[in-house]
Each structure stands twice: as structure tokens, then as C-alpha cells.
Symmetry: C2
């Protein structure tokens, strides 16, 4: 019996969350005998609860869909909204009535750990009320911190952006004769995957960035001083990469080392990144030029330096979600599984959303060098396939051309 | 009579300073009857004074030279070194003896205001000692602040990077329903050219970035509050671009507004960007999510988002410098001159280095809207041709492929 489907996006934007939406739409359209209208929630489950959704099958031309595949950000808008733990909450019957009134047969939620929590709760409530709706999660996060899956769509593009951009920072940092230190702060509050990708910027093993610090290793300023002293002797233009979430052995974040007196003129405490803090320490200790660079939001959603491999896998994850729903799966998240062997091959699979939600996969400690400031070659072998391929570049008037919902 | 030539790079790196070097080399090679060896100073005049130079004609294959054209940074290394004002300084005879011993007929110095000071002094000393060596400056600065020339090589690529990247930050900022403010801090301590380029990120006139502040307009926090209040009413996801060098009507930099108490744990004053300062002010005033992004070094030397127009013009400036020297010019800087008419045409010319050195061309006040927070369409017409064209993208293992001197 032909049913409609609906997709939503949730959590932080990435370079490929729209490629997964594209995959859902394409597979839905190709299954015209089983799938009717393809809806999109505006601003995820939060917006949907307020009645915001759109008819994607009607709104998007084939050209639009192709553009959507290569548009970073979250075309449908996103949210950070957790459904209540209590299944007796009135939210659930409200939601299921809405879905029933729209004749929805399957709901696809593209997001990270928190979004899988939504998938798990919806499918649990669905079982309680004997609903036939399928709930399938499509993984998405630059943090690469979802368990079970080999990696997550979004990570490959973030890794490529970080490696490419750090390589250019290294070029910029090396033009003068005078010794200098450049600190680059990268995303990753709890997991070091994004920061670890900076190792790919090296052209040879002893190249910059010479020192890389992840949240998974306890950080010590004294150890940093020793590492920098050693590295500066060999590389006068030193580049260091740090995760925003590095912390000391007591678990205190380095970004919290800012003096309590650090306030703006209104007396409000100012939040400072760890690289900014370390910049001051290193200036004081070594008396050389030190600067810090925070890559910030572009590392998570740049369409200018994204990975074609990542885009294609994200689209495939969206397609596989629809296929799985039509085969009756529910309460599951799509996984990416790497086949053994010398060449890179990925096949999609499924896992229980409950096995993923609210869990974190941190960077493996065995891939950090024993001195705590380097990344082992095993990671390079793992990550290199994920950053391959250049997506077609669409420009107009010299600027990137993307698909916008509101323009 | 056949003579050797030498080129140097000076000041901050850009995306196209190597394209100008490529132009010098290509033109030199094509004039084999007049030009012998093509040397490069390592780390500009400072390195040359210490005896550091290389034979570019021997070192670079045709493939290397093609790669050099598209490599950001400064292949030869750079310096920030001012020659003494006093022509009696022993530096001058030392330098001229070196040049004579290498049988140099022309010296090309690729750089900004300070580098043109070097060209002017060398040619002045050359006249004093009746040297036949030509000294020609090739303009380079992302700041676009050199007088006489319509624009400077390096600016087009920086403008393109800024416009493209801000467009993606706008995408990222607009995914949630909740109102938010994103501040983007761009380069430009004294001139607003780079920050003004953020207006190119707009897809329609009322689009983000809605508010743009340059150092050429006195900045007031009270006025910012009024502007933001008005803008937030229309655009809940507000993006604001500011130059690092915005200052108030008394001439005090906003980045100096940080409380004196703002120190690191060693008691050292911490330098903070103006966007970080304003982030605190806006959070306090509007109670919405506010974040700040400092684009930092990548805006000046990214080969990933550079302008083909800029690269070709930079190369042409290098070629024209060699042609001019061979015709007997000295003490001159190459200029880019825009021909009148509806289509963009640029022809190179020459101006006295003395007319350029130590002078600054700020952003025209008539191109700033009367409210002080916008850029007029005249600038868009001026800047759009400069960001056109996508250079070929050379990658290896998914990462940009550049030419390195030391690898």
C-alpha cells in the first residue's frame, strides 16, 4: 500500500547532511509504486511539532536536487530538541496523530547521537501503540563519534577541510626566517577525530603540524613546553594543532585556564579558546612570535573543500534508509561498514538506534603516539580514503552556487 | 648585452605572490637573448644580504613553474626589512657589489608599501652611484591599499575567499529557528577593502551579512546596538562583518576595549580581536546566542578559493616588470589600470615607486552607505570582476598539491 514519507535534519550542520536528504528523496522518487509524497520537516522534530513541513517532491526540480546534493548546511533547517523520556508525554500521541493525518509510512531522521535518541524514542512509542510507521536514523556528524559505524557522513569532508586548511596555514607560517609558533584550534569537545585529521596535512613524517593534541590524552602545559622546545630546535616555523576540548589530568578543560579576572568592560566573563590561552603561555615561555588560529564553523560545513567520497556515502546512507524502511526495518540507524582488504570498499548496514544514541566513540588511544603529541600511521590509513575526490564546483559570478529554501 | 636578473618577495604572503614570480621567470626565459640566469632572493632583501639566493632558471622545470603559479604563500620566503634612510649606510655599497658580482641587470621586488620603499631607495642609490641596474616593484597585498594602481594582485583572491567563506558562514548560521548573531572579523587594520568584500556574499540586497563595519567609518557600540536591534527584527539569524581595525570616534581601536584586567594566569595582557569584544557586548545587550569567527590567515593565502583573474593579473604584472626593465625603466612599480567601458579590461602600466611607498589608499567613503553599516553597489561593480574564474585544482591523495622550496 502506497504511503508518504518524511525526512528531518537535526543537530549541527555539515557539508553532506543535504546529500543524505538527496539520497532519501532520490530513492523515494524511484520507488513511486510504494512511496507517495516526500515531505521534509522544517527545523526538525521541533519545527514539525509546530506544523512546519514542506512537500519536497513537489518543490524540487531534478536540477534543484542535484544542487541540494552539493549544498552544505541544513536545507530543511535544524533543531536541538530532545523528546521526553516519559512515553506518557502528550507529545507522542500528538506527533503520531500528525504522522497518521499525513499518511506517513516512514520517517527518516538525519543527525548525530541526540537525533538517534529521537529515532529510538519514536520507534519505542510506535511499538507501544502498534504503529506501522518505520523510523530510521541516518548518521551525520563531523565529530565521527557514533559507535558501531566505521565512520559517519560529514567526517570525511571536515577531515579534508582541516587537512587542506592546515596545510595552507603551514605554508603561510613558513615564509619568514624568524622562529614562530602557530597554534591551530580545531573542533572536538570530547573526541579528537577532527583534530587528528590535521596529521594528513603533513607532506613527510617530520613535517608540520609537528605537534597534535587530542582530548583523549591528558594535556599538561609543562609537557607542551618540553615538546615545543624539542620541536622548535628542528622546525623554526612550528605549527601545533589542538582540539578545543583538551583537558589536564584532573579533567579541567585548558580553555577554562583563563584568569577569573578575564572579563569584558561590563564585567562579564569572556569565553576564550584553548589556543588563545596557550598562545599567551608560549609567548611568555619562548619569547618568539606566537599566534593562534581557530578554524571555527567553516570546518564543519564547507562546500568549497568537501570530499566527494563523503558526499556519495551520505547520499547512499539516505537511499539505504528508504530501502530498509520499505523492507520493514524500524528503530534502526544506517551504518557504514568497511570491507576488509587493501582497497577501500564501504557497504551500508543497520544497527539498533538504541546502540548508538547518547553514546560516544572517542579516538582510539592506540592511534595516539606514546608521547601524546602525535598520531600513528594506522589513522592515516583509516582516514585517507574518506577525503578522496573533488565534487563538481558550481559557481556564479565567481561565488559558490547552492540551493536555498527561503530565497 | 646579456645580463642576469633577480627577484625577491617581501611582506605578508598572498595567494598570488608566486604567480608574479612565475611571470618574472617566464618573461625572463622568453628573452633568452637579453636575460641570462634568473635568480631568486631567499627571504627577500634580508636573506640576500646574508648571501641567500637560488638559481630559479636551473631549479624549476616547466611543470614546477606551472605549479608555482598556483601555489599560495611565498615560495622564496619573505621578510619585513626596511633599508636605511641614510644613503651613506654601508648596506648600499655592500648590496650593489653583490649585485655587480652576480652580473645583475635588473632586480624585481614583489611586495606592498614597504617593499616599494626598498625599490625607491635602491633606485635612488643606483642613480647616485651611476649604476645601470633596473629596480622594478611588482605590487602585492591583499589589503588593496596601494595608491595609483586600480587594485593590487592578491586582493581579488582575498576578496573571493572572504565572500565565499562568509556565504557559507551565513548558511551555517541560519539552520536554527532561534535568533542568533554571528560576528565575522576580517583583515584590515587601516583599510576596509577586505571586509567590504563580504558584501559580495549577499544573494539579494537585504541578505546577510546585513551589517558591515569598516575602519574608515567611526564605530560606536551604541550605534551597533541600534543597528542590530533593527536588523534582528527582520533577520533572526543575523551575520555581521567587522574589520579588525574598527575604531571609535576618538580613534581608539575597539579591540583595545578589553578590560585591563584581562590577563592570562601569568598576568600577561591578552590580545583579543574586536569581534570577541563585541560578542560579549551583544550577548549582554540582546540575550541571544552570539558567537564570533575570526577568519584569520587563510583569507590572505588560500590556494583553494583563489581568483583566476587575480592569478593571471599577478603573472602579467611580473611579465610586464621584466619587459619594462629591459626597456630601461627603473624606480618604478607596475600598476594595473582598468579601461573605461562596460566590460572589464585591465592593462599594466608604471608609476614612480616614490608615489606609492609608505602611502595608503583607504576604502572610499562615498562607497560606504550614509548609515555607516553598508557598502554601496559601486563597490560591487568594482570588485566583482576581480574574483572571477576558478584556477585548475591540483590534488594528490585528496589534498592540494603545491610547489615547495625545501621539500
Amino acid at each position: 500500500m502506497k504511503k508518504n514519507i518524511i525526512a528531518g535534519q537535526s543537530g549541527g550542520p555539515t557539508a553532506v547532511i543535504n546529500a543524505s536528504l538527496y539520497g532519501v528523496i532520490e530513492e523515494g522518487l524511484s520507488r513511486a509504486g510504494e512511496v507517495g509524497t516526500i515531505y521534509g520537516m522544517i527545523n526538525g522534530i521541533e519545527g514539525f511539532l509546530s506544523g512546519h513541513f514542506m512537500d519536497l517532491s513537489a518543490a524540487l526540480s531534478p536540477e534543484d536536487r542535484e544542487l541540494l546534493k552539493h549544498t552544505p548546511g541544513a536545507y530543511l533547517g535544524s533543531c536541538r530538541h530532545k523528546l521526553p523520556q516519559n512515553m506518557d508525554s502528550p507529545v507522542y500521541p500528538l506527533l503520531f496523530e500528525k504522522l497518521a493525518s499525513m499518511d506517513i509510512g516512514a520517517l527518516f531522521y538525519i543527525g548525530g547521537n541526540d537525533s538517534m535518541d529521537t529515532v529510538e524514542k519514536l520507534s519505542r512509542y510506535g511499538e507501544l501503540c502498534h504503529s506501522s510507521i518505520s523510523f530510521i536514523g541516518v548518521p551525520k556528524t563531523i565529530d565521527n563519534d557514533l559507535p558501531v559505524t566505521d565512520h559517519t557522513p560529514g567526517y570525511g569532508s571536515a577531515a579534508k577541510y582541516v587537512a587542506s586548511t592546515v596545510r595552507e596555514i603551514v605554508l603561510d607560517a613558513s615564509v619568514y626566517q624568524q622562529p614562530s609558533i602557530t597554534l591551530v584550534e580545531l573542533m572536538g569537545r570530547h573526541a579528537g577525530w577532527v583534530t587528528a585529521a590535521s596529521v594528513l596535512a603533513r607532506k613527510f613524517p617530520e613535517d608540520n603540524p609537528r605537534l597534535i593534541y587530542l582530548p583523549e590524552s591528558p594535556f599538561s602545559v609543562e609537557q607542551l613546553f618540553a615538546d615545543v622546545e624539542r620541536a622548535l630546535a628542528q622546525t623554526p616555523s612550528l605549527v601545533i594543532c589542538v582540539s578545543e576540548g583538551i583537558k589536564d589530568s584532573s579533567g579541567r578543560f585548558i580553555c577554562e585556564y583563563a584568569s577569573e579576572a578575564q572579563t569584558d568592560t561590563f564585567g562579564h566573563k569572556m569565553l576564550t579558546g584553548c589556543a588563545k590561552i596557550l598562545e599567551g603561555y608560549l609567548k611568555n615561555r619562548f619569547g618568539v612570535k606566537v599566534r593562534s588560529v581557530e578554524l571555527n564553523v567553516n570546518q564543519r560545513c564547507s562546500g568549497l573543500i568537501s570530499s566527494l567520497c563523503d558526499i556519495e556515502e551520505a547520499a547512499e546512507a539516505g537511499r539505504f534508509a528508504v530501502k530498509s524502511a520499505l523492507e520493514g526495518a524500524s528503530g534502526q540507524m544506517v551504518t557504514l561498514n568497511r570491507l576488509p582488504g587493501p582497497d577501500y570498499h564501504m557497504v551500508p548496514g543497520l544497527t539498533d538506534a538504541a546502540a548508538v544514541c547518547n553514546k560516544e566513540k572517542t579516538f582510539p588511544s592506540e592511534w595516539i603516539t606514546p608521547d601524546g603529541c602525535g598520531i600513528r600511521p594506522e589513522f592515516i590509513s583509516y582516514a585517507l580514503p574518506l577525503i578522496q575526490g573533488e565534487p563538481p564546483r558550481r559557481t556564479k559570478d565567481g561565488l559558490p552556487c547552492y540551493l536555498y529554501r527561503n530565497v
